[in-house]
Each structure stands twice: as C-alpha cells, then as structure tokens.
C-alpha cells in the first residue's frame, strides 16, 4: 500500500481521538461553561453544566478511552514495544511517562465526575483543570515520540 496505509489510519484514529478529547475539554471550559454561567439562570446553569459534563464523560468512557487504548496498544505492538523496553531511556521512557501522565489525567477526570456528583464544586473544577493541563502534557510527550 502507498504512503497512507492501514497503520496511518490507526495513528489517525489515535491522534483524532486525542484532538477531540483535548479540544472538547478546551471548548467546554473556555467557551461553553463560562457562557452558560453568564447567560443562564442559576438553576438552568447547574442543570446545563451537569448535563454537559455527564455527556462528555460518557463520550470519554464509551468512545474516547476504548479508541485510545486500542489504537495505542496496536501501535505499541506494531513498533515492538515491550514492558522491559519502557524503562529504557529515550523512546521507552518517554512512552512510559506519557502513559503514566495519561493515567493521572484519567484519574483526575474520573475524580472530577465524582466530585461534581457529590456537589463539591471547587474540587471538581480544580480536577477538571488538572485533567486539561495534564492532557496537554500528554500531547507534548506524544510529540516527543518519534513517529511510529
């Protein structure tokens, strides 16, 4: 096959998933939620933000996570990454750091959902920002990985 092969499609799915997730978070927290806070009445605002958060969370769990994990796993297999090679300096360690950061981001995102459900607004917001900044960090580390 030519330059655009099956593996580029896999990588495309991985990158697009990340773009949508990070972009979605940015759009939510920079555009939609501030506007909602300003324009909606307090009751409507709370319902809107809760619904928006739930929907984004569902998308994350149902689509984003499986796609990222699946394509990521496939690319690692394709490149011959082993558990042992994750400790090596260079590619392995960068990938390991990226995965660890991703896990932290996901924990923060999950924590955000839980805190929101329990009505702890401040903690929820802080965790949402941790998740956003952390996912930018994941993207930074991803760009540091040589193409696979």
């Amino acid at each position: 096959m030519g330059t655009v092969g099956w593996w580029s499609l896999v990588r495309f799915a991985h990158v697009t998933g990340a773009v949508l997730w990070v972009g979605g978070q940015l759009a939510l927290s920079l555009v939609i939620l501030p506007l909602a806070r300003r324009l909606l009445a307090p009751g409507a605002k709370d319902r809107f933000t809760a619904a928006a958060g739930r929907r984004f969370g569902m998308l994350t769990g149902a689509v984003f996570l499986p796609v990222q994990l699946g394509t990521g796993w496939a690319m690692a297999w394709h490149r011959g990454v082993t558990w042992a090679s994750l400790a090596e300096p260079g590619y392995g360690r960068t990938l390991a750091a990226k995965l660890a950061l991703f896990v932290i981001v996901m924990i923060a995102a999950a924590g955000h959902g839980i805190a929101q459900a329990k009505g702890r607004q401040e903690l929820a917001r802080a965790l949402a920002v941790v998740s956003l900044v952390g996912s930018l960090g994941v993207v930074l580390l991803a760009t540091a990985l040589p193409s696979t």
């Binding site: 090596e88 300096p89 802080a126 920002v129 941790v130 900044v133 930018l136």
Partner: protein, 879 residues
Amino acid sequence: MRSKTDDLTAGGTRPPSRFKASGQRGRHLAAHALVAAWAALALLAASERQTLPVARWLAIHLFLLGAATTAIVVWSEHFAVAMLHTRLPDRRWSNTRLAGVNAGVAGVLTGVWADLPALTGAGCALLIAAITAHLVVLVRMGRGALGGRLAPIADYYRAAAAALLVGAVLGWLLATGRGGPRHYTGLELAHVHITLLGWIGLPVLGTLFMLWPTVLGVRMAERTTRLARRVLLLTGGGLLTAVAGLAAGQRPAAVLGMTLYAAGVVVTGYLFARTPRRSPAVSAAAAWMLAAAMGWLVIGVIADLGLLTARPLAAVQEDLGTLVPVLLVGLVAQVLVGALTYLLPVVLSSGPKERAALRAVLERYWPARLAVLNLGVALMALPLPGPAGTAGGPLAGAAAAAFLALVVAVLVRGRRGPSRTADGSGAARRPVLWGTAAGAVVTVLAVLVANSGGDTGGSDVAAGAAGAGSGVTRTVAVTLAHMRIRPARIEVAAGTTLRLEVTNSDAMRHDLKVEDGPATPMLAEGHTRTLDVGRITGNREAWCTLPGHRAAGMAMSIVVTEDTGSSSGTDAAGAHDHDHGSMAAASDGGLDLSADFSAGWRPRDAALAPVPGGTLHEVELRAAHTEVEVAPGVKQQMWTFGGSAPGPTLHGKVGDVFEVTLVNDDTGMGHGVDFHAGSLAPDKPMRTIQPGERLVYRFRAERAGAWLYHCSTSPMLQHMGNGMYGAVIIDPPGLKKADHEYVLVSSELYLGTPGSTAQVKKMRDDTPDAWVFNGIADQYSQRPLKAKAGERARFWVVAAGPSDGIAFHIVGTVFDTVYKEGAYLLRPDGPGGSQVLDLATAQGGFVETVFPAAGHYAFVDHDMRHAEAGAHGMVEVSD
C-alpha cells in the same frame, strides 16, 4: 485590617504598623503558593540528583532563584514599605514585576535544562529587567518617604537587588559559556558569592535586625540602627571586594573582602546573642530556626574564608560543592521556614484568633523538624563516609517537605478565609489556579522522567549492543581538562564498537555524556571511568553536562569515516589498545591546535643567549620526569634534562670547554648523555647513571656547528621520543652579529603514558601526535617572535628527531646565508639564494634572512604533514 489598608493607600499619612501594613492577603496567598511550588520542584529535582547531573544545578536554582528569589522580592518590597513608612507601590506594577521575575527564572531554568542558550539569554534579560525595576522602586520609595528608625534596612534590600543584577550577568556568562574557559573558575566563584551572600545573605541580615527582636517579643536595642548601617558597609563593601577579586582571579582581594563580610556577620550575630530574651517568646519556633540559620551563616562564611585563605581558587570551587548545600539548607531554607512560621500567620489572618490558629498549624512538630533539619545539615557539612554522609540530604529534605506541607495547608485554609465572601470572582478563579499548578507539576514531572536518560540503565543497554557488534573494539583515552575534551574528535570506521576511557584531570568535577548513549557519573580530579558507547553507525556528539560547560567548549565529536577498509584494518590490529588521540597524525583530529594554552603558560624563549664569558662553561643537567603543556591545553609527562624538553641550549666558541654535571633525579630509570659536539669514548663518560647518581662530563668544543645532545640510555627511541634532547651551539669563527638570533630544536611529540605500549607503538610506526619546535606544538603561532622590517635574523635549527628530519622554511623570505653541518653552503655576497634548510635527523645548522617589510612571516617544516600538525610558528615583523 482591610479598612486600615484602605486608609493607607488612600491617605498614606498614617504610618503603618510593622507587619500588618500590606493587607494584600490575596497577593500574599498567590506569591507564597509560587514560593511553595518552586520549593516543591526543587525538592523533586534534589531527589533526582543521582540520575541527572544537571538536576543538582536545577535543584539549587529552583530553590534559590525560584523560591528564595520570589520570597525576597515580595518581602523586601513589603518590609521596605514598612521601614520607610511610605505608601505601597502600585499593586498592578508590583504584580507585573513579580510575574516578570518568575517568568525570567522559568526561562533561565528551562533554557539551561533543555540546553537552549537563546531561551537562557531571554530569561536572564527578563529577570534583569524585572530586578532593575524592583531596585528602581526600592530607591524611589526612599525619596520623600517619612523614614523611620529602621530606614537603613531598606538599603540592605537595595544592595541585594544590585547584587542579583551582577549575579545574573555572571550567571548568564557561565551558562552560555561566554566567559571563556580560562575565567570559568573565577566567574563561578564570583557568581556563587554574590548571589548567595549578596542577593540572599544581605536581605536576611537586614531583615533579622528587625525580625529577631520581634519574634522574641522584646524591644529593639537602641544601637541597632547605627549598627545596621555599619554592618551593611562591612558586608556590602566586603562582598563587592571579594567578588571583584574572585572574578579577576585575585585571591588576596577575595580574602580581604570575605574577612570584612565575616566581620559584619559576626558583629550581627553578637548583637543578636546580646539581645535580651523574654519568656515565652512570641514565636519560639521562629526564634530557634532563625538562630540556627544565623549559626550556619556564621559557620559557612568562616569556612569559606578559611578555604579562600588556604587553597587555590580551583580547589575552593570544588569544596564549595559541599559548602553550598549547607548554606542552602542550613541558612536559606531555615530562614525561610523560620520567617514564614512567624510572618505567614500575620499577613494571612484577619484577627488574633485566626492568627493563633494558623501559627499553631505552622508550628506543628517544630522541635522535631528543627532537630531533623539541622542534623541533616550537619551530616552534609561533615565529611562522613558511607550512609552517614549521604543521609544528610534526605533528612533535611524530609524536614523541608514537612514544612512545605504545612504551608500548603495554611495557604488552603487562608484561601477559605473571609476573602471568599468578600470577593466572589476571586474564589471562582482559585480552583482553576490550583488545577493549573497541579497539572503543570505532573506534566513537568512526566517530562523530567521522559528525559532522564543516560544513567546506568542506558549504559547497560549500550554495552549489550556492543556485545552483538562486529567485534572490532577500539578504546580511546579521553581527557577532561581546562574546559576542553581531548581529543576533540574521534574518527572510527562504521560499525566499530567504541569504548571511551574517560579521565578527569581537572580540579573541577566533570562528566561525559554521549548523545543518545551512556554518561559517566561526575568524576572528581584523577578519576577514570570507562564508557561503553556501543557500535558506532552514525556521527555522535559527546559533552560535559554541567550547565555552561558544553557552551564553554567541553564537547567532542565521534565521526564515522567512510573508508572502512584501511582504518578497520588498523583498528583490528590495535583492538583494545589505548590510542590517545593518535588520529592527529592521520587527519586533523586529535590535538586542537587552535585552542588556548592554559592560563599562566609561557612559550619557551626562542632567543639564543649570548656566549657567556670565559672559556670554561659549567653546566648542571638534572634528568627527571616533568609535566609540560606540550600543545594547547594538553599536558604530557615528559622526560627532561633541566626540567624542559628540549633541555637547555649550550652556547660557546670553538675551543671552549664544557663541564657538564649530569644528575639523575629520576626514580627507577637510568639516564646518560651524549654530546655530539665532543668526541669521547662512549662507554665511560657517556655511560648510564642510576637514580641519585651524578656524573661529570667534560668535553672541548673543537669544531663549530649546531650540535645535538641527547640521552644515551637505551631504548633511545623512547628517551628521545619523550623529550631528552637539546642543542649545543658553537659559533663558527668570525660569525657576524645578527639583530636577532634564535634557536629552534625540531622534534616529534608522542602523547600518552610514557613508555606505554600504545605510545611506543606510535614511535615505532613514526606516527607522532604532533611535530614541534622547541617542544611545544604551535607555540610560536600563538606567541609570535617579534622583529622589525629590515632586520637580519639568524635561525639556528637542530633536528632532534627521534625519527624525522626537517625542511626548514620561512614563508615570504629567501635565505641569503646557509650554514649546515659545519660548512657555509651560501653566503650573503654570493648571487644565489636558498629556500629550505634541510636537515636529516640529528643534523644542525643555521640560516639568515632579512625581513623585507612589516607582516606576518610563518616559519614551518615544509613537510606539510608536519607543518599542519604543530611544526609551525610565526615572526611578527613591524615597521
């Protein structure tokens, strides 16, 4: 409290109380969150120290330049307002300055860490701009201010800001390598002193004058104001002298300056010790910590003074490696902890009750933390072996981390205070700030982990790859010294498995990191470590990872050569052999002749001394091992007559008698001497004498000429190849006086351990590392001989070998006189001219020429392999 602040900012007439002045609770919260974040990052970097050499630098600078600097900028402004009884500077500009300082620091740290000199420069410029603004604000505050009893303390803050400006410029010079390798030691010492003792030490001293009685809860002594002024003169003036002395490499000035500084510190300590105590103190925790910090300052300054007095600067720089952490934790961290324990509750609380609550949090377990921290510092300071020596850092770190956790708790609690109700939008913004900070911290941590290559794990991998290699292994000796790596270039055939035997022969510590490969740990002077680089398939760089060292020139390149045929053959033959820069002969590699000679190096005087009076010349020649700088930045163990290679030149007239006393000062090696100028039976006066023996050797110079003398002990190839040769000049009768008379002994230079297989192999193969005039490669290229246009110069040349002769030529001139091996081949009155004096090994003669006009006349061995590898000099002719 808020209304009081409003009064102040509006009217500015009522003098504020000492500490409650600002009331800028939000600002203090944000600033101390920053301080805590920097400190946390510093702790992280400190815990990474084993794997990342740059992490030590980062840890120090994250703490001092990040945490301490932010705290000093905030508090010096705060206190200056209080001391001078003036109004608060514009809050927006204050925030801008603080942001500028922090952005600048972040730029500098990232720039050095990621090796981006442009970012380092930009960060430095921003930091300097922000601190200049800070200084301007501090100076302007003094104008028209009411001034108070404690006004002189503001001068401490001004002096400190000026010190940081100097320190930042010095730091920039160091980090970007612009100071040059020669001045590195002095500049680094100056940088450490002015930042640690100036930017941090002066505000600490100044603030303590007022803070010490405050935490004790007693009145300030009457003489404090007067004393504060005097101590500033002592410490500030002393520091200025010391830093100027260090930067210029003048040790006496540095010692004088540090003596003054130490005097100032001791006087202050005495004042504090004499301050009456009250029981209970306002904050016993703060008092104890400040006292301990003051104690470490006194110890540190006196230790530094002692080191400067007793040891050369290069050694002091190494010793500061232990002293800096002691001051950093014992003084700076402890002062921060102590001062914040008292001050944070004051600025963050809105009433006595809340203040007490916050103070209770910050003073939690303080006796234990105080003990652990100071035990840690003491362990760091003492040269203890084994685990006791290494436990100090973690102990102090644990105590610092514990306080950090308490500060975070107080900041979080302070955030929940009345400000939430007062300022709704501020409260809404705070979780975003916290989230951003936390996210940034985990990201930085992840990037740190991702970039932590080149430790032992990496070298294992490379070694594994080496085992699978083609089987051709080359070991190259690499020397780290004088901010250079020798050889600067290694050429290998593709596929060669390369091992580097890295030796640090510098007083300063260095390491060597190979691009995408392993790195040595920090090597102290004289330490050696073998690096398995693995199979070389592409060009690689290697460098010293200490910040600024690479930029200053500590880099080498490993270059893959195309022709695998011939070079892999010799590689195979020399497998596991140590070739120390032998590539010099074959290519441009090996010696870096364009580098600088080290400071204090002098060329050998090429001028021929006139014949001494009388007909009997008594000479003592001592044979010994001597270390000589034989090429720019390259020191080599030579075997010498009279302490130099070539040995001293003997000059006389026909018929003169030379009485030479040969003394063998060497250990474990016999030497003899053979004067070609005399005719004697080889087995008696030319015999080899053993170490400690002496032998008188007498000969009459019956015939004129330029003669060789050399060691007569076998193997002569080695004795001569390592430097045991010299010239005897016997003037032919009627020799006219020339304007300049020079003597040049040409020879080959073989680097490496004298007598080692590798070195002897080079001698046998006649593949020297350089060809030299008077023993040192390119010495007269860097320090030209001087003459004037129209002057006549006579060059005596002796080819000492041991294997090669010379084709002596001076570019741009024609010889009108040639005298070779006792006969004139050409005289000025003849019609002919000569271009080259050709001498076989051990022959000698002279040529004369007149320099036609001003200019630079190169003299060379016209065998261009030799000329381009060291047999090159220059005559600078002026009008």
